[in-house]
């Protein structure tokens, strides 16, 4: 926690030494193939690792780099691009992120409007803005969702391109920074086109699903941390001659925190398992988890601060760090309402199933 607070005060919340440790353990390549220097683990293992990271409130660009950009490259890159860019991520040599949202602030791929103009030499020119880009300041290269002649596409742009301006847009969560990216005639060469059309849509959907799952895992870890600190407080803080945990109004709030923690965990590991099995309903399972956990983490933060009373309201208390992370995570990759609509589309907007009628003489 002291390390979290130290990084929170820095400009980017990124620490190279910590990142190198992750790389040594193989986390930066956790779900990617060994041929690209990945660790080759599955979604369930990824979820377990992210849960621990969330419990510790690890700051920095892990989800942006590994889950978001990494998955996009894994799905859409040529072998050459994967060896170069995905490999660099896996080895811990590079950071990256996805620039997706624009002014409409929508996670819908249909909302992408930033136009990449085709150039005679096969390259592309970018003018416009992306918002809410996570950890952009430390990205060695950015993956940018654009439209090429109306078609969805993803371009790779070097993080230090001179025509690219990164402006910090400070938010509540101090452990992960958000940026506005302004493109003023940024040129991307032909070989920096990662994908377009149907492949771009599939790759973006896959990357958002994996990153969303990772975010949910982080959130579950965060809820665990809140439960632990709240119980510890309720057992030791004494008023009216006894620990406040002996009062039902307090005890019942703690019980409610445990109830949402367990529900969150069930939803997370089912979604992770479904994704690892390539179950056709995996996307819906991820949406169930994101919808439920988004509200669970927020409410756990609320209750934790409430139970901890005046102490809970201080800067020094760790509950608000989770409360801030909870809000940012709630928004990232679609909030509960977004995912409920996604569930509605998947479940309701089709022909009604024929009833399984059991036929028997009465």
């Amino acid at each position: 926690m002291p390390e979290v607070r130290r990084l929170m005060e820095t400009e980017t919340a990124f620490d190279q030494a910590l990142w190198s440790k992750f790389a040594q353990q193989g986390w930066t390549g956790i779900i990617f193939p060994e041929q690209y220097d990945g660790f080759g683990l599955g979604m369930v293992e990824m979820a377990a690792a992210l849960e621990e990271m969330g419990r510790a409130l690890v700051p920095g660009p892990f989800i942006s780099t590994v889950l978001l950009a990494g998955t996009l490259l894994d799905h859409a890159g040529t072998d050459e691009q994967k060896r170069k860019y995905l490999g660099a991520i896996c080895r811990g040599e590079a950071r990256s992120t996805l620039a997706l949202l624009e002014h409409s602030a929508s996670w819908d791929l249909d909302a992408v409007q930033l136009e990449a103009t085709s150039l005679p030499n096969g390259g592309f020119k970018l003018n416009g803005e992306k918002l809410f880009v996570s950890d952009a300041a430390v990205a060695d290269f950015l993956l940018v969702a654009v439209r090429i002649e109306g078609e969805l596409a993803v371009l790779m742009v070097p993080g230090d391109a001179p025509e690219l301006e990164k402006t910090a847009t400070p938010g509540m969560d101090l452990t992960r920074r958000l940026y506005r990216i302004s493109f003023a005639n940024v040129i991307a060469s032909a070989e920096n086109l990662l994908c377009r059309g149907k492949l771009a849509r599939q790759a973006l959907e896959a990357a958002l699903d994996v990153a969303c799952l990772g975010a949910v895992a982080e959130m579950v870890g965060g809820i665990q941390s809140l439960v632990d600190m709240t119980i510890a407080y309720a057992k030791t803080r004494k008023q009216f001659g006894r620990p406040i945990g002996a009062f039902q109004a307090v005890q019942h709030q703690c019980a409610d925190m445990l109830v949402v923690l367990e529900g969150s965990r069930s939803a997370l590991y089912y979604a992770a398992w479904a994704l690892s099995e390539n179950d056709p309903a995996a996307g819906r399972a991820i949406s169930v988890a994101k919808a439920y956990v988004s509200e669970a983490y927020r409410e756990a933060g609320n209750k934790s601060i409430q139970v901890q009373g005046g102490m809970g309201f201080t800067w020094e208390n760790d509950a608000h760090l989770h409360y801030r992370r909870a809000k940012a995570s709630e928004i990232a990759f679609g909030d509960a309402a977004y995912h409920r609509e996604r569930i509605a589309k998947s479940l309701f907007d089709r022909e009604p199933l024929r009833n399984e009628v059991s036929v028997a003489a009465d």
């Binding site: 019942h252 109830v259 939803a267 309701f348 036929v359």
Partner: protein
Amino acid sequence: MDLNLNPQETEFRDELRAWLQNNVPLDWETHRLRDSMEGRFQFLRAWQKRVFEAGWAGVAWPKEYGGRGASLMEQVIFTQEMAAAGAPPLANILGLALIGPTIITYGTQAQKKRYLANILSGDEIWCQGFSEPNAGSDLAGLRTEALLDGDHFIVNGQKVWNSYGWAADWCALVTRSDPASEKHKGLTYLLVDMKSPGVEVRPLRQLTGESEFTELFFRDVHVPAENVLGAVGDGWNVALGILAHERATLGVSAQIAMRRQLDRLVELSREMWRNGRRALEDPLVRQKLAQAYVENEILRLNQMRAVSRIIQTGAPGPEGSILKIGWSEANQRFQATAQEILGPYAQLTGESDLAIDNGAWSYSYLRARGNTIEAGTSEIQRNIIGQHVLGLPKSY
């Protein structure tokens, strides 16, 4: 945990599914709508007889007592398949699920021989006597007394909230056999013939209008001494065993029933109009239906994890309280959602020809009010979680 069924479980499921497909009475709920409660019960008894003769009653019971020795996973499958097929419930549900297994665990050979077969066939219906007017959440405060007089006990007292008390032939009764004792000590579990002189059954009318439950009055009822289940004075442990056993599959059928209702609500939303368009196109309706789905999935997945934990450790944990809070409170929210979506029609009961689904929704809305009270109130469940899971000090 492994969510895939092994070959034995698959075979079990397929065999049951096929039998249900050929035997569940078509549209039985519609046909039985105009039944009295007693008439409906006789129908369910006949259904149980059919299930019993096909070898599907008491699947969890050991084979030597007429069951199938079903594993916990198979028990879950059984509940799921019965619910998915829309099968009628088994009439002697308390006997099959709770009292029969308790007799198997604690009973003498003579008791097993005398009672078990009739539980399976439904020839003898069982109820339980636990709660009293002054002992609900504080069950250990019960005062119904059983005083030993030679070769029999003399029972005096009153029980309340007995499911099927009006249909029962036998009652599993928790009594205080040591008048000097307090709380959990000095309790004895007795098997009582409901036809014994001095037993009075009074219907308990609930807010939905009918009387699922009864009050039972015992006035100098003679119970043979050999009708003690377990040891004299060990009644609390016997009772706890029942509650723990219940929690293993608690909520499985509740979750499925809720899911079936949700699927039906979605279909109704396709047809109904709301704010000038089809309800299912209304963003608010979509959000509420999706939220109901989310909560139902959480119930289902929590249940699977709980079953998995029992399979691994052999014992149900206090997570039973999480499951109970889960299904009861989710159902209440779901019923509120359904009322909202169905609009003015939702309030109509089965007596009105305009009612939706013959008044099923107004009924389930009212009935759901009892969910957070029965089988351990939400407040008690939170106390259990607070004390036994989180290790917080006892609050009372």
